[in-house]
Symmetry: D4
């Protein structure tokens, strides 16, 4: 409901180019289309800088492919997260260039290789088991037009490993830090750097890890003030918001 | 442990300006001083762009004043959060210009009025009870050198109120959204805008609000991808990280 | 234990048409029958306006079919929720007209097409993954004799989608709103309308969604006062109570 | 944003009675006013059938009185919930006829005595400790123009007490059932009646009652299908939604 | 360490029938034997009135059979709970008379048909899905020598069904009440009777039932004072303690 | 609704001693009276063997005294739990013989000194901080006509203290075991004895004791099969049900 | 029940120095005495190397003093934790040399200054608010005969502060690490050292710290394998077990 | 960053044996190598006394084998926990002497048979289902060079079984106690002994055991002061830290 567009409507009515009824109708006509099973939101590409991303779980492969196609025709990069190989095959049939990052469980189509981000996004992960989540962040940030670096296996119990990579950390414009278990890594990284840190708790761990709850609580209570948190295992969300920050 | 500084140490040793023992000593001498009851971290001003902020609860007024003074002498703005009036009075005795924002429970001293942020930070709060938390975010962001606007009482159950303030929201470079109860406001604001949204759950509510848990979980599960979350009632953290983003 | 019926008993005793022992016996004889494995409660059809609905999980297909038959012989519509295809086939053998709504996992037999509800029940769902729960609500409300409309994929992060369907919402006499993740949709819908809103948290989401807990807490803390809540994924309950309200 | 009103705007523009700029301005001008500390939402009286209710906690007595006055001038009934005696005295100064229900902690002003509800709302409470919550429901429902009856001290461990009041229950068009501890009363009442039951868990109990959590979970899992639930101790919400149903 | 036995030891030492070393040894020799993988506790038969019961999960079929045999040779009844069919077949090979109650998942061998209980234990279950847990209680109580009656499908939402069975309830010396979902049945049954009620929460339900937590909390907060609670799905424990009470 | 009483009603109707209308009326007239603020349930004395006990919290002293008087006039013992000294003084004014057990916070009036229990109830408490809860159990059991013994300060970390009191434990017909912190005592006591053990978790402890939750969970998971559990700090409930068992 | 002591008993019986009855009696006579309100366990001094420590909360000052005296007469050091000033004054009256550590809320009497520990116990605390808990650990360890060092204010967000104290850490034989908020410090310290680390979560923090739960879960999930955990705020327990380890 | 090594660097620079740039480089060169998918930390063998242990879950068999080989070449014992048979076979191919403890799910290679521990570590387990966790502790402690004894099936409900093994317990220098359900065993063992007790909660149990939460809370609240706790099912951690203590 952009003020200019509305003003133009009024002017068209005034000039007689449009009847009042048609104007009311147009006012209501927002730019989304109905595929019958999901409202694909092209408008968002304008509003938030990138086409809607598809959340894979529970979607039938053919539905997935149809939504994917609907999004792809605008020429943007398209991403489907937590996608199965079966969903990938359905997409692949329509788009020969579609790729599958098995680790990140991401299906994507790269149509736009331009770099929009102004600096580097560094993705840090604590243990080898956290890598799939970190990879999802990497894929997301790359598809949204960012330079991305991945520093892995630098958990806090071997602090010298992390310190050894300090120069890479210092080179980041935005940091994404993925950790399970006690989720302490974002606090340490946050203290070492002076840029925003997006913390991603992972469900890695057992027993009192309670599926990522321990890491989540740890990160929310971080004593480093530059840390904000996204949902457990939400590598996509971290990549998305880091990308948004990196475009500023 | 800046590489240049270390290199210089080696050069001084080589040139004989420094003995090896003194060099080892200097290498170890990090820039923090010991007040006897707390390590005040001046180094952080360099590292993260602003002097350490004082967390008020449990600190004796005279200790508070002493730490405050230690931080103030560098010429930066100084902030004590969740401070009592008694703590304020102890600070006030030493610093005539110290101010107290009663709503935000913040004691602060403004010594640097420069604007460092590149855009406006807009702080949005859902209900009147969320205002204290929002105010803490406002005070923090202002002291860190940002233009700040506060949009309040725009809860999601009266969506037209929020939509009426849409232009202000669209003008933000970073958004802070404070909400208690169901904590839904960040999702709606996140969907309306294309900049990073820092969500602050507040402990406002009763019964199944469980002291902010409901809002916290709601925000972590936001369907808007540009939302990240800080701890319950952590207006300071939101202001801090928003400020950091706004400097980029 | 209707007063009239009891009074009649006393009169029959007085007139000698009934011995006192038989009267005591009849007083105790309540209208339910024992199938050996479950008390089928025909009485409820009288009391609460519709025959007992069968909860599918854990029931053997043949038991399911037997209970179904016992309920069907009265001529009412019969509904089995969360039913498997195998259970459906067992029912189908006895009732050729029995249908299976795969999405809602509902087996039902339509024997009564009368509309009892006085207005339209509108079922709103936030994301495509919430549709199965919403469908259960739709099926239930339709079988109980209501006009039902389904508005789907109108999550709060794209508020314009919801606003574009506002006229449909305004036409509802009762609203059912299904949402997972942060569960914010009922608050927004509740604020836009002036009729009762039955909120259904769904188990859609991951991580800190904790199987629907986040959405549940969000809905219980709704700042819209016309919202009440049913159990997680309880589309049936929502359809049932909405139907009851719509008959008033 | 009523279609008729918008259409009229277009017509005024067409006829030259309004400039396009003024039209855009009017389109944006929604009917709420800014008191400086809270957006009072008169519009809601139109939308949801009654003026905004004031949530007392944390409001300064003079602010409370000012908001109260702003709402009262329309001639509707006004209600402030969880209000203190001090807040009441501030209101009383401006409105001689304002009343205070100490049990329900409710301040209210009755300006409209019309009955809008079509039947009786029966409020049932389990133990004597649940009465304050039940009273809040009673006051709310009465102020919104309903006939209300209160059945109290009929907990499930003495089922004959409840059965003895069955005729009152059967006479209800909507039921509100308040219970703490195990929260079982709504299930029993729901099974006895064929109208909607709004269940209100109360924080009555100790130990594993966990401040109303036990009752809340019990009610959400009610085996009676006509039960919906509101937040712990939310007598107001129950009265509000029951009133809304009773007006249908 | 019975005083008489110890006294006898001392006397044997005194009389020279036993060396002091042998006495110390005997003092230490407690009546359990080591099977290599589990200490089978025959002593308990003396102490608590029945041989140790075998908890099935995780035991290899051959181990199960071996433990079973070790217990059976004393002539008592033997019970293995939560046993698989495979475990049953291993036992069956050794004991032709061993039986399997599929519903209760119980393997048992009846060697002693005497009735030890002084009255009837009545096992009540709320819904058809609670029957397996109730059956475990029935089997346990029967094997421990009690008359047992089972009243099923009498949930609180159809209170007349329960009242119709009141005479059976009144005939109990001890009651076991199994219920899932809101777990309200023990409160109602407890209020109707004047004997101890053992409440067994079951994991029946979904969503906010949280695997029996809702029922558990409900029962712990029962407003009926004659209710005590055992673990979720612990039909065995209920049958065991009811049996113990019934022998008093 | 005793069958005999009902039969008599029918006979009176038959003989003309009663009109049918009066009979219906009498059928409905259950033996409880309405004090205006609470239904005092004298009927329960018949049903469950003792007059209703008063739960003190939140009751005004004068209300408390009035309810107390209503219960006392039947000649039974009367007990008010969790009562304040102020409530006690109000009762004391009416009943000179009323006593106050400060530790147990119990007000009581002893009018009936008969022993109804058939054996001894032994109340065991783990630490000195658990004594108030244990005392409540003692007072309750004594007032209900039982011989009671109290074994205190025998926590599991000093197992020899408990073993030293073993003879007392062995002499119990029913055991009540109160423990906070890890709540392990009932398991050990349960293993040593062959009578029912009522476990009472107390809120004693700090940190991860979570107000008695740790003890509660420990007791529910007891590996001793003769253990059942009541609510946290519910000494009254334990005393009540132990008394009921002891009368069998 | 030392084997030698028992053997001696048998020998005395054999030699006629002891009657069998007296022997049974002596066997039962364990070395604790009954003060009427608490079993003071002198035996423990032998068994676990130090007299029983008094847990202050809820104890009347005179009881405290009496228990204190009972323990002091053996000549050991005596410690009362979480003691109030009032309790201290009661002790002080009897023991002029009793001291009060206000920060740690500990009352103690030093009668034995010997060092039993073989190395140094280093107590590390993350923030200034964690100091009281750390102090309790320090006092406990010192009273139990250890050299203790306290490194404070070295939270993980300023990792250089910790690294600057590394030499002290490396000099420890046992480490105690106290931290609230995200509780990450034990993981980092654990990784830096090769001795046992006792982690103490503190209740420092707010919001999602949930009274120390976040720190507790973090520590339990530590990726450093030399970390074990005690209860929230349990500085005493940490000091106690560290002392025990240091004596090995 | 050993001071000596650094000093030597400075001396080499001074003597001209090293350029300043090379010195800076060497300073940064920490002793870990990059395998491409995981940082194997040989340095830890020096720091914490044993090579890094491999956490099996989620690792591809070939990756596992590669990491295993990297660790094995130093001549230390190597351990992979929670390893699958498939992972074992991959390791076995490279190391003929690699063994698999099926119960403990541990793959290990024994290259160093020296005993480093100064006493015996005794591992106690409560029930037969706790044995796998206990076995993991046993394997870990043995591989780290300790004498280990395992006392099993000595749950607290049969306290005489435990007391019968008291001499073994008294012989321990460190104790590991594994228990599920109520987790009471460490408290009892802790009270009987005067050495450190590492408590391991296991996920054994059902219902309100909540996957080991009940045992975990029980152990954290142990009334025995010599008890510390590790994560649920963390037999490895217990073995590791016990080993570390035993080397002191």
């Amino acid at each position: 409901m952009n003020a200019e567009a509305i003003k133009k409507l009024f002017q068209q009515v005034k000039s007689g180019d449009l009847t009042t009824d048609d104007a009311v109708q147009q006012l209501r006509h927002l730019p989304f289309e109905d595929l019958g099973f999901a409202n694909v939101d092209h408008h968002r590409a304008v509003r938030v800088g990138m086409a809607e991303v598809i959340f894979g779980p529970g979607k039938r492969p053919d539905h997935m492919a149809k939504i994917f196609a609907s999004l792809a025709k605008r020429g943007n990069n398209v991403l489907a997260t937590r996608a199965t190989e079966e969903q990938f095959r359905a997409v692949k049939k329509k788009f020969k260039k579609a790729e599958y990052n098995e680790l990140a469980r991401a299906v994507f189509l790269r149509q736009d290789n331009k770099i929009y981000g102004k600096g580097t996004i560094v993705v840090v992960s604590a243990g080898t088991s956290d890598i799939p989540v970190a990879e999802e962040a990497v894929v997301t940030a790359e598809l949204m037009g960012n330079e991305v670096q991945h520093v892995f296996d630098v958990g806090v119990a071997g602090i010298h490993r992390l310190l050894a990579r300090r120069e890479v950390l210092m080179g980041a414009r935005v940091l994404i830090v993925c950790a399970g278990m006690e989720g302490a890594l974002p606090s340490v990284v946050g203290g070492l750097t002076s840029v925003p840190v997006i913390a991603v708790p992972t469900s890695v761990g057992y027993g009192a890890a309670f599926g990522g709850l321990a890491a989540l609580l740890g990160m929310l209570n971080s004593c480093a003030s530059n840390v904000t948190v996204v949902n457990i295992d939400n590598g996509f969300g971290a990549g998305y918001v880091a990308s948004m920050i990196n475009r500023l």
